[in-house]
Subunit: 202 residues, 2 copies
Amino acid sequence: MKLHEAPSPNARRVQIFMAEKGIDYKRVRVDIRAGDNLSPEYRAKNPAGRVPVLELDDGTFLAESVAICRYLEALHPEPNLFGAPGLEQATVEMWGRRAEFNFAQNVAGAFRNITGIFKDRETTVEAWGQVCAEVASQALRMFDERLAKSAYLAGDRFSIADITLGVAVDFAEAVKVIPLRELEHIARWRAQLASRPSWSAK
Amino acid sequence: MKLHEAPSPNARRVQIFMAEKGIDYKRVRVDIRAGDNLSPEYRAKNPAGRVPVLELDDGTFLAESVAICRYLEALHPEPNLFGAPGLEQATVEMWGRRAEFNFAQNVAGAFRNITGIFKDRETTVEAWGQVCAEVASQALRMFDERLAKSAYLAGDRFSIADITLGVAVDFAEAVKVIPLRELEHIARWRAQLASRPSWSAK
């Protein structure tokens, strides 16, 4: 099994997931700054041109972080990170999607539109980046309120929803385009995430 | 079981899903134009303030269309719309996410930023809406290429990925903010979707 990856929040989500499961894999570095992910060769692996992509031993390519992780969960059910089928699984997915749509997507929108890092390949609108930064910052309150009542995002145990939000918050802090509020419950939860061996997976 | 809903692409995704499964439910109309989804009462059901929300008989509220559908799939496994666990499920999720991130999100971004329909509650940037429209239009080629080789988005049978993309394409056509290309394979596939009884679920 090979992971085609680049230093990016989405690759990190899969790296942490694999570390939690104890899955061993080979790495293939994709040079995004050089545009390798937009080459015809790479697009044959993933027509959307994104990282990461999981290459299975039979040559099948699987893209999209959550799809990759769900595949790995089926192969390696323990520790369970998607929840038990039924309400728990749906709750994990609900919080994972809130983390993506309300926070992570806005962090990405702020980063790309404010810094113009991919200006050579996409149209950026700085005013939109500022809107994204503000929306992402506001959204943190919803997660803080949730974490005031719940040890982890989807309930009393760690799940893929925590990986999604935690990686996005770390990235937002690193790239400094979001006014990160000092929120008590998010701070407590981030310290818990950082104490997991998987959190430093690279 | 009650579905809190409003006429919207996300509510329609769940309505079609439930029609495919033959699930009976009550409807509660949420008036989004009047901002009912932003009231404290509604936010107690869904802090993200979005529709739809599924209310279970025990009073639990479940939000996010795909999370709702996955819960319903666990309760009513047939017809299977998420794929069998393992590679098929991951492939359905991969294509469903591509439909969301590459197309549906950009259609929503174009619609909201170009028309300013929610200007009373969010900052809109028209130039960004134009970027979204172009990106969404370009993304259709990837789906057309996929549908040249595959009967449905995730393989040889209908899945939730088809619901996600099909509803978004219908919406894009209805609101007229996207230059919809005449793409042969998408046209063939849309005709197949429209012929399903579930496609006219309301």
